[in-house]
């Protein structure tokens, strides 16, 4: 029987598939019969989904600007100049 206090600290790791197999199985079995811990698990999962959805929507079209590499070249060139001083 898994201690509830332990379960609550391991729920994040379970969500991330970072628990050893035996431990994960024990936690999952506990979740089947403990409403409170299962609710906690679902809430964390929903938060993950919210954040991932938001991140997906805000970054799906994100690309460097067309001038990115040219500007970087200029900065590298400036950096290579003798007596180069980085901007303050």
């Amino acid at each position: 029987m898994v201690d509830k206090a332990i379960v609550l600290t391991q729920i994040s790791a379970l969500l991330d598939n970072e628990l050893p197999e035996k431990e994960a199985l024990a936690i999952k079995q506990h979740l089947l019969c403990c409403h409170r811990c299962r609710r906690e698990f679902e809430q964390l999962k929903n938060i993950d989904c919210l954040l991932n959805e938001w991140d997906y929507q805000t970054t799906k079209c994100l690309k460097p600007s067309t001038s990115y590499e040219d500007r970087l070249c200029v900065r590298i060139r400036d950096f290579k100049k003798p007596n180069h001083r980085p901007p303050s």
């Binding site: 994040s12 969500l15 938060i47 991140d55 690309k63």
Partner: protein, 219 residues
């Protein structure tokens, strides 16, 4: 006409060794491979496109500047991520004030309006009111993430948005596996506490969890 890529099949770590030998084309290949990743990485921290580009370029400059010190100790992407992460965190330190919105303040109309699941990414419903709430929710998420400590914010970004394993996160952050595990747990709980209305709504709707991503590592 596209420039020939001499180092197309060369592993990242070997490119750095080539760069050490003075071959700048190797550096150009690194930039070509990782500019998308680095801009996206920085954007996820600072949520400002121009600033993200600026920081990502600074990351490449650092790589170039300290190329002579490079040794193959870990994967190149771990090194690059570490450099970018530290630059982003430096940027946060410069900003002293974080505005934390009242997350539990509902839009007019109460809890019925806050149906984030159907609003986020629901491009088939361009209702102006929903778009407004969508934008509001996005701003709240952004500000809540910003209100976390840099450590908690970093682990969440690396885990949730980039899909790094705990071991990889520990390498990038220079932390132990146990520390990463504890930080992620606490960060998630802090986010959970600040989105209690959203979570109540999920329970009311019997929301099925889903994800719009399949593999964050490709992003």
């Amino acid at each position: 006409m596209a420039k020939p890529r001499y180092y197309l099949d060369t592993p990242d770590e070997e490119l750095m060794l080539e760069l050490q030998q003075g071959r700048d084309e190797a550096f150009n290949e690194i930039v070509g491979r990782y500019k998308d990743y680095s801009v996206r990485f920085c954007y996820r921290f600072v949520r400002d496109f121009e600033l993200a580009e600026d920081i990502s370029q600074e990351g490449f400059i650092r790589l170039y500047k300290f190329r002579h010190k490079y040794k193959i100790k870990a994967k190149f992407i771990t090194l690059l991520s570490k450099i970018l992460m530290n630059l982003c965190l430096d940027e946060f330190r410069k900003r002293k004030s974080y505005k934390t919105l009242e997350i539990d303040a509902l839009p007019d109309g109460g809890i019925d309006k806050l149906n984030a699941h159907s609003l986020l990414g629901d491009e088939s419903s361009p209702n102006p009111e929903q778009e407004y709430i969508q934008k509001e929710l996005g701003e709240k998420i952004k500000h809540t993430l910003n209100s976390l400590s840099p450590r908690y914010r970093t682990v969440l970004i690396l885990r949730l948005f980039h899909g790094y394993s705990y071991k990889e996160i520990a390498e990038i952050m220079g932390a132990s596996l146990n520390e990463v595990k504890i930080w992620i747990h606490r960060a998630r709980n802090q986010m959970k506490d600040k989105f209690s209305y959203y979570l109540k709504r999920c329970e009311v709707n019997g929301r099925q969890s889903h994800s719009a991503y399949s593999d964050q590592r490709t992003s």
